[in-house]
Amino acid sequence: MIVAVASGKGGTGKTTVTASLATVWDGPLVAVDLDVEEPNLHLFLQPAISGSQTAHMPVPLVDESRCTYCGACSDLCQFKAISVMGQLVLTFPEMCHGCGGCLAVCPEKALSPGQRELGEISWGRVGQVVFLSGRLRIGEAMSPPLMRRVKAKLEQMLPANGGDAIIDAPPGVSCPAVNAVIDSDVVLLVTEPTPFGFYDFQLAWEAFSPLGKPLAAVINRAGLGHDAVYRFCREKGLPILAEIPYDRSIAEAYARGRIITEVSAGLRENFISLRDKLRDLARPGPSGKAVHA
């Protein structure tokens, strides 16, 4: 089972929920930080890192001796990453999406794959939990290419017969967030019952419900704000699997880098129950078909 923890609004508690679930997991688990722009999971899980690699993406390299300046590459490129002007061919590697179109279309075979550094992938372990994380290079604009490489690494790490993973997704509801949840079995939306939290929660519901995966909510800072999110969940039939009360002592414990399941036995119970409900949600439906696409 792969659980993606997503949110819409940032700062609602995705990393707290991911780390807390990891501490109460009752079997082998890979905890994955796919918020590659601002990865924080390691700050709470504090894993011992055992390996890392730099991730790259192919970008075109031009062999000027073969180029006839026909312009087929720049005609095809949708991202203005390669341009032919007279007897000059220019590449803009930071614009390249790595589609390989220019390499495939060049009639003179004048292009070969070079590399753009995307960032770093690292992995390790904390107790029984395997840790995996991506970290975007500062200045790199695109996070999905690095996320795809982290997910490929996850696929290698998970046993062939499945295995469990929890993904800490980036905030928002656009391409990076969709990329983080698209290969999961269950999407867990963490929100707070404030106007901002609720507005972004509705966006998240709109973005993720068409994926056809089971969706569920965790309400963090319950007691703050208003009750609109509860009403919305009832209307949409979206189960609320856990609530974390608003409590200044929880905020302070978080501020000190503590995982909240270690703060109180009650919170730990909350997350054990959340874990079990997630398993129920991911079980094959009544049709007998596995939920995982």
Binding site: G10, E38, N40, Q78, G100, E140, G172, E252, Y254, A255
Partner: protein, 300 residues
């Protein structure tokens, strides 16, 4: 005309609540919400839309099942895993399609269309604090530095036309494409952080990003009293890098109260939080080279 962008790295540190209050304090300047993915500023400013435009960006591949002969060239070329077998042919998974046109160009049956992608809408609205330039990407659409650039361009033109001396922008979390676009041409970035391990870690990355693009940076430490030691560490980091700390604001539930009422916190009775926020705003004005506060805000 000066352009100030409020960012944070980490989400949920208070960017939008602070931007709303700054818009109130600035009075009558141009306001711009550059978090086009999950915009929230409108929830405080209650804009009335005066102009609405559709936003198209890039294209997406669509296979005509009637023309597809199932050869699979498209699937073998697609670097994004966006082409899946469907029936006797293939179909494009639009959530994975990057709009690169490779499948379109190489399909021997010419079965793949390439329509423009409708990604969202942008608006110019009136608010009680001045004009707001904002947008909404359709949920699940490609997050777009391009849309951020459109909004900035509109905000600049509006500022010029109205003789405003400030464009105040609310940014997105993270350090990727939309944040990079929102930094371009800014005179000052203000990073709102919080004294938590994530807050400090993400501040360091967003500060490095500003350095990379040579944008001056000031810092506000929000909820500073949640962890005084971490607040000191952040202040030390800022001192070491010569980032001015424009303010330290206490953890205060009046921010949420204001939000629930659709107000900004400086519209509620004064608290230690709103007082600190006003001081922070004067400091930011100075740092952005805006000089003394004008008439509009003096009457507040």
């Amino acid at each position: 005309m000066r352009e100030i962008i409020i960012i944070s790295g980490k989400g949920g540190t208070g960017k939008t609540s602070l931007t709303g209050a700054f818009a109130h304090l600035a009075g009558g300047q141009i306001i711009c919400d550059l978090d086009v993915d999950a915009p929230d500023l409108h929830l405080l400013l209650k804009p009335s839309r005066e102009r609405q435009e559709e936003f198209y960006s890039g294209h997406e591949a669509k296979i005509d099942p009637g023309k597809c002969d199932g050869c699979g060239v498209c699937a073998s070329l697609c670097q994004f895993g966006a082409i899946r077998e469907k029936g006797s042919g293939y179909a494009v998974d639009l959530l994975r399609c990057e709009g690169c046109k490779v499948c379109v160009a190489f399909c021997p049956a010419e079965a793949i269309g390439f329509p423009e992608k409708h990604c969202g809408q942008w608006y110019i609205s009136a608010t009680r604090f001045g004009p707001l330039v904002h947008a909404q990407l359709f949920p699940g659409a490609e997050n777009s530095g391009r849309l951020v650039m459109v909004l900035k361009q509109q905000a600049r033109e509006l500022a010029k036309a109205q003789g405003a001396d400030l464009v105040l922008c609310d940014g997105a979390p993270g350090i990727g494409c939309p944040v990079i676009s929102s930094l371009s041409g800014a005179h000052l970035a203000v990073a709102v952080t919080e004294p938590t391990p994530s807050g400090r870690h993400d501040l360091e990355r967003v500060a490095e990003l500003c350095g990379h693009f040579q944008i001056p940076l000031a810092v506000i430490i929000n909820k500073y009293d949640l962890n005084p030691e971490e607040t000191s560490r952040i202040a030390g980091f800022c001192r070491g890098r010569s980032y001015p700390v424009a303010g330290r604001l206490p953890h205060d539930l009046s921010v949420t109260e204001a939000m629930v009422q659709g107000l900004v916190v400086t519209e509620l009775p004064e608290t230690a939080f709103s007082l600190g926020l006003k001081r922070a705003w004067s400091r930011i004005r100075e740092l952005a080279g805006l000089g003394c506060q004008g008439q509009a805000a003096a009457s507040l």
